[in-house]
């Protein structure tokens, strides 16, 4: 006998309709508007806008920024997760709070702090000017600000995953004579691969799309220090709507690809969890952890 723990059909239909209506209005419509506005004057105008040299240099700078920021934060994320999840030490929860800090700092403040360190009136300003090195209002500042805002992504994804896994498998590997690197490559890495991919794609999406922090440190020099989001802003403010939305549509495509990869990773992770749950308990648990992947963009 089962008791009906659900609502009557009309209530169900109403709630589903309300939820889908809200999502259509707030999520689907803005997304559709990007592509419609980009193609308002046809494909030719769209290609024209994307072929423009300034648009190209913005695309290149965005790719370069992500190509530097994501690997650096990946190395940090793995190191931080190893230290926090595999060992006990004093001040661990404080360390986790500090790692989270960039999520809660306004992007504008994130940009400002680099101006205060490297700007003309900043700490290192005079020294940098003497040696003719430009950091803010140049490409290095853009990369630094991007590293800051995407700093916690991979670490936050890996820490709970590795904590849930415990140390048993790594210890077994050590007892069997594996070196530290071997333990990491052959035992830890396969177990955290989904979390790692998940963290990397989210980190990449934010790195390519960051606007506020980059806007403060960029200096907005067309063709030189403009990332794609900044280029969108310039075009939009110049009333070049089609061109602005054309570049924006590339960023929207990036968002859709990110969501698609993220969903596939989640589904595969869930399938592995289910497969692991069906194994008899004494079978070697070469299964992934029981911690579900959670999107942690905690501010």
């Amino acid at each position: 006998m089962s008791i009906r723990t659900t609502e009557s059909r009309p209530v169900r239909v109403l709630l589903i309709a309300l939820a889908l209506g809200f999502m259509a209005l707030f999520l689907v419509l803005p997304l559709a508007a990007v592509f419609t506005e980009a193609l308002r004057k046809g494909w030719d105008a769209y290609w024209e806008a994307l072929k423009e040299p300034d648009a190209w240099s913005a695309i290149r700078l965005t790719l370069l920024t992500a190509a530097v920021a994501v690997p650096l934060n990946l190395v940090f994320g793995v190191a931080a997760a190893w230290a926090v999840a595999k060992f006990d030490f004093k001040g661990k929860s404080f360390l986790i709070t500090l790692i989270d800090l960039p999520f809660s700092v306004s992007p504008v403040v994130a940009g400002l702090i680099y101006v205060l360190v490297f700007g003309a009136q900043g700490w290192l300003g005079p020294w940098l000017a003497e040696h003719d090195i430009k950091i803010v209002f140049a490409v290095p500042g853009i990369i630094l600000a991007t590293i800051f805002v995407t700093f916690p992504f991979i670490a936050r994804e890996l820490i709970p995953l590795m904590q849930a896994q415990g140390n048993d498998e790594e210890q077994a590997a050590q007892v069997l004579g594996a070196s530290g690197w071997q333990t990491f490559w052959y035992v830890t890495l396969p177990n955290i691969k989904w979390g790692l991919i998940y963290g990397v794609i989210l980190c990449n999406a934010r790195a390519m799309g960051e606007f506020g922090a980059v806007s403060v440190v960029s200096g907005h020099i067309r063709g030189q220090t403009n990332t794609m989001p900044l280029h969108v802003e310039i075009l939009y403010n110049e009333y070049q709507s089609v061109a602005a939305f054309a570049v924006a549509s590339l960023l929207a495509l990036l968002a859709l690809v990110t969501l698609a990869i993220k969903s596939v990773v989640e589904w595969r992770h869930e399938r592995e969890l289910k497969a692991a749950a069906e194994l008899p308990p004494e079978a070697p648990s070469h299964a992934p952890t029981h911690a579900p992947l959670v999107l942690k963009e905690a501010p």
């Binding site: 926090v84 700092v105 306004s106 205060l116 140390n167």
Partner: protein
């Protein structure tokens, strides 16, 4: 940080048989973590505080309480509060529908919830503006009714609702999934109506998660810049958000003023971060009690 003296490498799950540093790499990884954290986050952030300390108290006070700055606080915090409240209601509804009901295309809808995380904020900003402007898809129907959303404080709220939605959905969803159906069945058996079951049994279970989601959406909204500036209109005293005040002061080379306002924002985000951490701890304890 003297980590060398600390006991390391113990197995948390097997506290009864402590083993000393079975796994390698503690000093390397912790050392690198602290180095990178210091270089990227802590040293630059401390520059903000040092710069603030070069101001005298009256200078600081004047910078952070000027009439234009005060108006921006009212807008930023007011709009963030309204948006986060809307997100609580809408987020609960979406999470509920995604967990409890099945309908075609559910997986796609579920994936789409994270769109605001993945879509660059500037793209969201120009897109929402295009929709709500007087000649936009939505704006053209509202304008004859005398309703204007773009370039008004209302536009700020709408952009912040967009930005904050996933926070509530993604914090409530797992809690709803784990909620025990047996409790609801028991309530129904004891004669509770469906609404009583929801308000007396289900709601208390998900309340901590809802509050956490609210705090996260609020914290994110307070600092948000990219999606807001396009739609806000940025009229001083009316539709100018606090992050824009910082940018405005920077563009006038008023570094001290920008730093003072940024310090206030940083202080508020740090308090919000601590509140969120406390809420998450409460939520974990609650779910621990129930399990």
């Amino acid at each position: 940080m003297t980590s060398a003296t600390l006991p390391v490498g113990t197995v948390p799950s097997a506290g009864a048989r402590p083993r000393r540093r079975v796994l390698p790499g503690f000093h390397l990884t912790l050392g690198y973590t602290l180095f990178y954290l210091g270089l990227i986050v802590l040293i630059p952030l401390s520059a903000l505080l040092f710069k603030t300390f070069t101001l005298t108290w009256p200078q600081f006070w004047e910078a952070v309480t000027g009439p234009r700055v005060m108006a921006s606080y009212r807008l930023t915090f007011g709009a963030s509060l309204i948006a986060a409240l809307v997100n609580v209601v809408a987020g609960l509804l979406v999470a509920w529908v995604l967990v409890r009901y099945s309908f075609p295309g559910k997986k796609i809808v579920d994936a789409l919830v994270d769109l605001p995380f993945a879509l660059p904020t500037a793209v969201a900003g120009i897109s929402l503006t295009a929709l709500l402007a007087g000649n936009g898809w939505i704006g053209q129907y509202l304008e004859p009714l005398g309703i204007q959303l773009a370039f008004q404080p209302a536009g700020v709220v709408i952009a912040l609702i967009f930005i904050g939605l996933p926070f509530v959905v993604r914090t409530v969803q797992p809690v709803l999934e784990d909620a025990e159906k047996e409790l609801e069945e028991a309530a129904m058996c004891l004669g509770a109506t469906r609404w009583q079951t929801f308000s007396k049994v289900i709601f208390p279970t998900i309340a901590p998660a809802l509050l956490t989601g609210f705090a996260m959406a609020f914290a994110r909204a307070v600092g948000e810049y990219g999606s807001v500036i396009f739609i806000a209109g940025n009229v001083p005293m009316v539709s100018e958000i606090t992050p824009l005040i910082i940018i405005g002061k920077l563009e006038q080379y008023d570094y001290a003023g920008a730093t003072a306002v940024a310090t206030v924002m940083l202080g508020i985000s740090f308090i919000l971060l601590l509140v969120i951490n406390a809420l998450q701890g409460w939520q974990r304890r609650r779910s621990g009690d129930l399990a």
